[in-house]
Amino acid sequence: MSNDDLVTLTDKQKKARRSRNVAIGLALAALVIIFYLATIAKFGPAILDRSL
């Protein structure tokens, strides 16, 4: 495949893609934190106390 077949993004498209990527990253990180804290909130600290 030659370089002519590739889509070259404009600066505006690159900036928009970066903005979307950052938002998705932050949203996923927030979800992880929310589910972690909510699990402790629902079940109490005892959920961390388990035999290995």
Partner: protein, 313 residues
């Protein structure tokens, strides 16, 4: 191989220029803020409380669910949004976000918000949120909006449900108190939107939406606005009459209700020749204030009552 190559050549590859802000605009942030506020009042008004973090999660899920239904609405209504001055700059008609992106975004957030609320809070509130999204996106947007002038009367149920969802998130049930909160927004919706439809009737006519002024005429709309204001005023006071709040809320809601009827009366008396429609614009502005203040009064009343209960304990 040649076939595959030709197919790619025929398609127009469009690289998205939509920023995170454009997707956020799909969530209808102003509507979302009203949903957050009324759902929060429903949660605080409930006689029991939940873990504060789970309360924040519930509010967040309700907000995202409401936003998702807004995105689905913008996906389906892109054709009529494009011909109305009020909505022409929305992300889909302005070309910033494609309809496919808006649909996917709305569906993903709908599922995510309902599942999060169900797993982390309770399934009754999740079911109510799912019903709200379905009612707004399918029953109102796809069916009622383009079919009947009663569109916003019935569709108003979707916007009125958030305090009930908030209540259900805390109590795990639905009670008369939460139904009264639902009724306040439900009865507020027709006079609010018909006041807007009166002075934006040309916009709605151009888009082919059967709003009340375009179908039944302005005089009939003005009468119906007044009739709904007469229903709304006593329902606004009902929480005090039923003993759910103190007289403080009763006085505020009564004054607000009298104000609403007064503004609706001015709309009723508006002559047919009035094209500036100042009374309709004034009612529209007042209706926004009415809903915010009446829910704020309910919130303040609930908080003060709780503080006094704690002090007396």
């Amino acid at each position: 191989m040649a076939l595959v190559h030709n197919r790619f050549e025929e398609q127009t590859i469009r690289m998205s220029e939509a920023t995170a802000g454009d997707f956020f605009a799909l969530l209808k942030p102003r509507v979302m803020s009203l949903v957050v506020f009324t759902a929060f009042v429903g949660m605080v008004a409930a006689p029991v409380s939940i873990n504060p973090f789970l309360a924040v999660v519930a509010i967040l899920a309700i907000a995202i669910g409401a936003g998702a239904s807004g995105a689905l609405n913008m996906w389906y209504d892109a054709d009529i949004d494009a011909v109305m001055t009020r909505t022409v700059n929305r992300p889909v008609p302005s070309g910033k976000v494609t309809p496919h992106e808006a649909l996917t975004f709305g569906l993903v957030l709908s599922v995510l918000s309902v599942m999060t609320l169900g797993v982390l809070v309770n399934w009754l509130s999740a079911a109510l949120l799912a019903f709200t999204i379905f009612f707004y996106a399918v029953i109102y947007t796809m069916w009622l909006k383009r079919w009947t002038p009663q569109n916003i009367v019935i569709g108003g149920a979707a916007g009125a449900l958030p305090p009930m969802i908030g209540w259900a998130a805390v109590t795990g049930s639905v009670s008369l108190e939460s139904v009264v909160l639902f009724l306040i927004t439900f009865l507020w919706t027709p006079p609010h939107f018909w006041a807007l439809a009166l002075f934006k009737s040309e916009d709605y006519a151009r888009a082919g939406i059967p709003m009340m002024p375009n179908v039944a005429g302005e005089a009939s709309t003005r009468r119906q606005i007044f009739a709904y204001s007469l229903l709304l005023a006593p329902v606004g006071v009902a929480p005090w009459l039923l003993g759910y709040t103190t007289i403080g809320y009763g006085v505020v809601s009564l004054a607000l209700g009298i104000g609403f009827v007064w503004y609706a009366w001015k709309v009723l008396r508006m002559p047919d020749s009035d094209r500036v429609m100042k009374p309709a614009k004034a009612l529209f502005g007042y209706s926004l204030l009415y809903l915010f203040v009446i829910f704020a009064a309910y919130l303040a009343d609930s908080v003060i009552e709780r503080v006094f209960a704690l002090g007396g304990a």
